[in-house]
């Protein structure tokens, strides 16, 4: 069977009426089910988890004198102990341009200089996940999935709609509740195929119609306005790409999550919300709905749900005393949930004899170290996706660009990238 073209896959499915016999991984690029074909390597995946405000400095970071394998996990990372051999902790990474002490997410994956554009008070560039999605997203229903949280809370993320910024440096919207994420990822359209085909046709003519107006609106616009309207054109292009993907996928029902992920309850928040989102990501990876995930995490509601009565910002300015206790509890809870997420990924098979964990690169971190410090951003990397030799603690030169890590992870996952943000080169030590 020729597996190069998606349409042929569909005809295969049709001819053998094998809709139900789809493998657990439904991606077009990943075809273990073709018995005659050689098993194809499982796809690489990325997960970026942005924590917002920083961690408790003296109980989260391992002792800088203990670089290498023999380091102790401090209190804040202790719940991750069972995964220690699979963790990489990198210290002293920073984004040199970020001076915004409350912006933990805006430039975290981009390394951009807010003031790089004269005449503009804000500028950003593409985030590492979107670089990855340009390659890894080609073969899945969703090129990338951005998760976030609702509410006007102040959790130390800074401007943006999610962790992700597109090629043009514009913010990308996120799915901000577990319910919205569930629907987008798993809900099946129950309307009959013909109606859905008709609906797609209609969507095409709707796009065609608005483009007609967009083209005439463009006449006579200033340069700045043309750039603005380009966002509109860009959006329409993205939807067209999505629609053509949908056409390819029209007869492939959305895979349902494995049985222990149910439709999330409406209104869950705090710790529960983090858990549910992690579960949804596992399920989404399992059915290969996407290979690139970012999650801009709640914090204010997380500490509230743990019984704290102070704000997240207040917590981040801990001194000695109760605020610090809250901050420490938050670190531990964060690590505990992350450890559980890793458990789930390890327990979920993916390809021949490998697990989702083996093929995924996960990073937990934020642009804020602790309090108002922006140097030494907390960074934990895990998962086998980019070939890092885990189990080690790296203490880099102070102010090593965080983008060097993103660059290394991208290249390590088979996405050839020359530079990213303000990167100065790969961190080769990670791999050997």
């Amino acid at each position: 069977m020729n597996t190069r073209f998606s349409l042929q896959r569909r005809s295969f499915l049709r001819s053998s009426s094998a809709l139900i016999a789809l493998p657990s991984l439904e991606s077009l690029g990943f075809r273990r089910f073709a018995s005659a074909a050689k098993p194809v390597a499982a796809p690489k995946r990325f997960v970026f988890l942005g924590m917002g405000f920083g961690v408790t400095a003296d109980t989260w970071y391992p002792d800088q004198k203990t670089a290498g394998r023999d380091y102790l996990l401090p209190e804040g990372l202790q719940p991750l102990a069972r995964h220690k051999d699979d963790l990489t902790i990198v210290q002293n990474l920073a984004n040199q341009y970020n001076n915004e002490a409350h912006w933990g997410s805006t430039f975290w994956l981009t390394g951009a200089n807010r003031y790089a554009e004269p005449g503009q008070s804000f500028h950003n560039t593409i985030s590492a996940d979107q670089v990855a999605a340009e390659t890894l997203g080609k073969e899945t229903r969703f090129s990338s999935v951005q998760l976030g949280t609702t509410g006007k809370e102040n959790s130390g993320h800074g401007p943006g709609l999610s962790l992700s910024w597109n090629r043009q440096g514009k913010p990308m919207a996120g799915l901000n509740t577990p319910v919205a994420a569930f629907h987008r990822l798993f809900s099946d359209d129950s309307t009959p195929l013909e109606q859905r085909q008709a609906a797609l046709r209609k969507q095409h003519s709707i796009l065609d119609t608005v483009l007609e107006d967009a083209r005439s609106a463009k006449r006579g616009l200033s340069k700045a306005d043309t750039d603005k309207l380009d966002e509109y054109f860009q959006s329409i292009r993205e939807i067209e790409t999505r629609l053509s993907k949908e056409e390819e996928w029209l007869e492939v029902p959305k895979k349902k999550p494995c049985k222990d992920v149910k439709m999330p309850e409406k209104g869950v928040n705090g710790v529960e919300e983090l858990k549910v989102m992690y579960d949804l990501m596992v399920a989404a990876m399992q059915v290969d709905a996407s290979r690139v995930f970012t999650y801009r995490q709640p914090l204010e509601t997380v500490i509230k749900s743990m019984g704290a009565t102070i704000t997240a910002h207040n917590m981040s300015h801990y001194g000695e005393g109760d605020r610090k206790e809250v901050s420490k509890q938050r670190d531990q809870k964060q690590s505990e949930l992350f450890a559980h997420f890793i458990d789930r990924l390890k327990a979920t098979p993916d390809g021949e004899g490998t697990s989702l964990f083996d093929n995924t690169t996960l990073t937990l971190g934020t642009n804020i170290h602790s309090i108002h410090y922006l140097t030494n951003c907390p960074t934990v990397v895990t998962g086998g996706g980019s070939g890092i030799q885990h189990g080690r603690h790296f203490v880099m030169e102070p102010k090593t660009p965080l983008c060097n890590l993103w660059l290394s992870l991208l290249n390590g996952s088979g996405i050839p990238t020359e530079s990213h943000g303000d990167s100065t080169g790969q961190i080769d030590e990670l791999f050997g």
Binding site: N99, H102, T311
Partner: protein, 848 residues
Amino acid sequence: MRFCLFSVFFVLLAAFAGAEERALVPEAHFAMFEKYCLECHDGSTEKGGVDLEDLSFDISTVESAERWQKVLNVMNSGEMPPEDEPQLTDGEKTVFLDDLSHQMVVARELLSDTGGVITMRRLNRREYENTVFDLLGVRVDAGELPDDSNSGGFDTTGASLFFSSDQFEQYLKLANRALDAAFVFGKKPKMVSMHHESEKDANKKIRRISAKLKKDYDQAQAWRATEGAKEPKDFGFLDESDVRFYERIHNQKYKTFEDYLNRPESQSGVLLSSFFDGATVDSIRIPNNWPAGEYILSVRTATLPGAQSHETFLEYGMIENGARTGELSLLGCRKVTGTLENPQTLKIPVEVTKDGGRVFGLRQRQHNNRDAVRQEFLRSLNQTGLGPPPALWIDSVSVEGPNIEKWPLRGVSKLFFDGMWWTHEDEDAYARKIISRFANRAFRIRKPSEAFLEKLYSLYLDNKASGMKFQEAIRDPLAVVMTSPGFLYLIEPIPGEQKRELTDEEFAVRLAYFLWSAPPDHELRVASRSGAFKKPATLAKVVERMLNDPRSDEFIASFTHQWLHMERLDFFQFDSLKYPEFDYSAKESARQEVFQTMRSILEENRPLFDLLKADYVVVNDVLADYYDLPPVAGSEFQKVSLPLDSPRGGLLGMAAIHAMGSDGNHTSVVERGAWVMRKLLHDPPPPAPANVPQLSRVQGKLLTPRMQLDAHMEEAQCAQCHRKIDPIGHGLENFDAAGKWRDELLLTKVVRKKVRQKKKVTVDASGQLPDGSKYDDYFGLRDQVAKKQDAFSRSFAESLISYALGRPYGFSDESLRERMIKRANAKDGEMREFIVALIQSKAFRTKK
């Protein structure tokens, strides 16, 4: 170094010549620089690859700003000078950091100055909702669209209003929803009504629960009576802890229920009591088959003897699906004055929409939070053995409606401008006309192209061909119009990048979105055609009408909310035990007070400076009660004179402003001080610097805020800003976190969530402003601030320019700002004059 000196010399000359604004690090710091930095960082040594010798003290490029930022960062973090090198004195460091951080702010502003370029604007969420309402006569909830707020700017800033593919789909969905709601055909619905005797359901429910509590408890006692001879299982319990559970809930709940049923008032109506599980809500369900529209709830109600004044308000709202017991999506609050002998009937209008909720609830005013109600219940139970005594009683509720003035509805009659389609012989031809007319209306100025109209029409035809009825087939093309750039963007083309004066039509649109956040109405369009904008006098008349129109509430609320950074009011939940009166109704009234004061100043042509100090407040019944003023009648805001010694009057006397300067529990001296500097004194402190060492010496000790914050003065990095910020915050310490006056403050030391130590101290509000003006107490502070009229004018004018023009305020706007202030000052600082001057300015008439 020569180069730097030369450039500064040049700049100083330029400054004398009145040249444009620059970001200059003062010459006074050269010596310091030479002494502490250049030893290692000169052109020949370049330690760490850093050469500061050629760094210009005039920060005029992105590159030099980056290098100065690094100097600022390493000095703030204490990295430089290195420990083993000579250190700056605290005085030197404080002044240098102060100057540099301020000049960095100036440099960033200079470098990001758009030079007056106005980037095309997408309708923000508010404008979108209002524009849809104008077109279709229905309100959609645009809350699902991405948040338009951007850091520091206004939600009208075109450059910050993005567009994404998700948004496109959301717009399409919202348009369809709006059209569905607007498409109401057929005959005018008849008025319907129903009557609800409140006690019927309530008593039945309470009787049922309390009987069950008693039964389980009796059963538990029956088992206890066997003294171990029998198993809990024999009495229907799982085990002994199950028995204890039923005993406990009986002890917590039963007596209060019994007391409720024993009260004679509960036999004729419902008592709005609080129980363990939440507040009592009298709920009314509007049947699903009743049409959308306005309904009137007539509530026969009374206060109960012994009620405290802040409790004698009836809150009403929607009961959302899945809401916890007693919690409402609140819509309003009404004072109750009737008595059991002589109950009153409150008439409360509520809006029922097609897809919105239909269950309304009435509740005694309190914190809108079940946990808070439970805490209060338990506190009362401990003290009296019963839950808190109810303050209100409802006899019955009647519902009548819908009140529909015009039929067909406005949206329908505007869309189907020539009657219903079934009266037309050729409905397709009529459809074509409807689409074209709608598109023209939706696009405001620009004419939709023929090709676009043609494509819209084919959408309709395709739909018809697929078997849809007329009213279904026409929906898609209309929704597409509302998703097109012509509708979503305020488009002002300038062919060839030539800046130009707006046409009168465009001017009308800009004006309407400034003052109404909505498209121009018929009258404004007529005015635009009559040349009314050409003469200052007639234009002033137009502006006057617009400001007097209720649609300008949108400007007042949205502008003020963003100008004064009022989003902080929603950041925190207020501690209900500590601030029982600062509940949802108080907080919303406090928010409204700010807006209503603005409205009153505009309407009465009062000076802007009334916001700094005034001998009156604009309050409603809730707030008059909260401020301990003589009662005012009704939930409408009204102007009330204050006694001479009142701390109220002006922004600094408003509960909302103080609540914003707190975290819901404690006051924040720093937050309040910084706010006064930013908003009132026009002297914004630079953004909180990164990497400044944290002060932890004073944590966990029993100190006054003043003693705690004095630690700021010990480190130059902190002192540079806090020596100005903190004294102002201390001057406001007479207001607690919820804005109530206090003479003393209670210091507590909390360890592991328990209060270990307590102490009362008298508030010391003395201090000085950054310019050295001293004050002994809050009243002195307010007087000093009230003197800074020019500074406050600048703060107001700059924000107004930014909001109205849809771009950040830039240095190039300085002359505009000064002209606005001059004109206002000629009229004793009238707030209205600022607005009129801005609208009459060239900038407001120009697209570039």
